[in-house]
């Protein structure tokens, strides 16, 4: 028997929906949080109506949501992710945080931020949190709640354990192509604004 872990999914927009879809087959308790609580409730209801193993619930406060969770997934644009990271800092300690990386999101000014830079920006705020980045490389959210909408996930982290854990979560959930990449830890890269070998 294995414990049912709790995932806080913060943001229920396009990326939040994709993250929820990618976790459909997993036996998790899913706490959905969004500034637009109606949207969060609708997604929770949609997930609960789907024959899936996870149980979803909408919550209004990201702090309480993250406090209750074992795993936190941040899905809004980077600017908002950083804001939420600051807000949940006290309760994200020693937890696993998955940040969704969206290089195609130009509205928020994410354009130009590399995956390593995004990880380091979040890690500056949450130094005691295990951080991984995911990118829905080939995904369509117009298919409704079907796992096969996610065809390919890329995962980045600076820690091997974190990388393996996150890859395990998505593989167990039925995502077939999970590509993982361990980002190197050099002193130069730890400086904000330093050169990024991935660029």
């Amino acid at each position: 028997m294995h414990i049912k872990e709790t995932i806080a999914l913060i943001g229920t927009g396009k990326n939040g929906r994709l993250a929820a879809v990618s976790l459909l087959a997993c036996r998790y308790q899913l706490l959905l949080c969004d500034k637009n609580i109606i949207q969060a409730r609708e997604l929770a209801q949609e997930l609960n109506n789907t024959a899936c193993d996870c149980v979803a619930e909408a919550m209004e406060c990201s702090f309480n949501c993250a406090w209750e969770a074992d795993i936190i997934i941040l899905t809004p644009d980077l600017e908002e992710q950083l804001e939420v990271a600051g807000y949940i800092k006290a309760v994200a300690n020693q937890k696993l945080l998955i940040s969704v990386y969206d290089d195609g999101n130009s509205n928020s000014g994410d354009k130009g931020i590399s995956s390593t830079q995004q990880i380091d920006l979040i890690r500056d705020i949450l130094p005691n949190t295990k951080i991984a980045l995911i990118k829905f490389a080939t995904a369509r959210c117009d298919k409704g709640l079907k796992t096969n909408a996610i065809e390919n996930i890329e995962i980045y982290s600076r820690e091997q354990n974190t990388l393996d854990t996150v890859a395990g979560i998505f593989k167990n959930s039925g995502v077939e192509n999970v590509k993982k990449e361990l980002l190197s830890l050099t002193p130069n890269m730890l400086q904000p604004g330093s050169s990024d070998p991935k660029c």
């Binding site: 702090f63 800092k89 309760v91 300690n93 000014g109 130094p127 005691n128 660029c199």
Partner: protein, 222 residues
Amino acid sequence: MKQLPLFLFERCRITLRLNLAKLCLFLSGMYEVFFKKINEVIHLTADEEAIFKNYLKPKKLRKKQFILQEGDVCKYSIFVEKGLLRSYSVNEKGNDQVVQFALEGWWIADLYSFITGEPSRYNIDALEDCELLLINNDGLKEVRRQIPKFLEFSFLQMQNAYIALERRWSHMVTLSTEERYNKLLDKYPDIVQRVPQHMIASYLGLTPETLSRAKKQMTLPK
């Protein structure tokens, strides 16, 4: 080579400042019982408390939710900041056998599984909504390395765990049903008030009917 947009740094700075007050409020309450208990034994400085916090995982648990299930490895030593937990095993007849309750200020874990990494034979679930602080073995080692006086606390904790275990075993074999119940009532009235009677009976190694009869006997005039 790409430059990070300035707005992001500015935004981070403002966000952190705005949230500082809120965080301080939450932080003080979140670790209140924890540091109170530790400081009863060893005195930690503010810096040492800050080091300790780095290794603690705050976790809320709802009533009836599990923090450990039989077959899983017990990865954390659990401190109860608020609420009530129960540790129990399930026997071959499918009955729960309560091993331990943990109230505010108590630690709970399957020590055998926590130390050896073997799968646990116990379940730990919440009897009330809980606020917990979890620390894993690596975290404990790191705290002991960085705060050597914490070793003294760890030693006392182990000592107390052994004494409690020994006392519980001796009560089971030497005391009558009424005496066992009275001991529990005297020492831990909160447990008797907050825990359902069938769980108290299981903890005392009785059936609920036997406990009910014993309680009736105790109320009769002698």
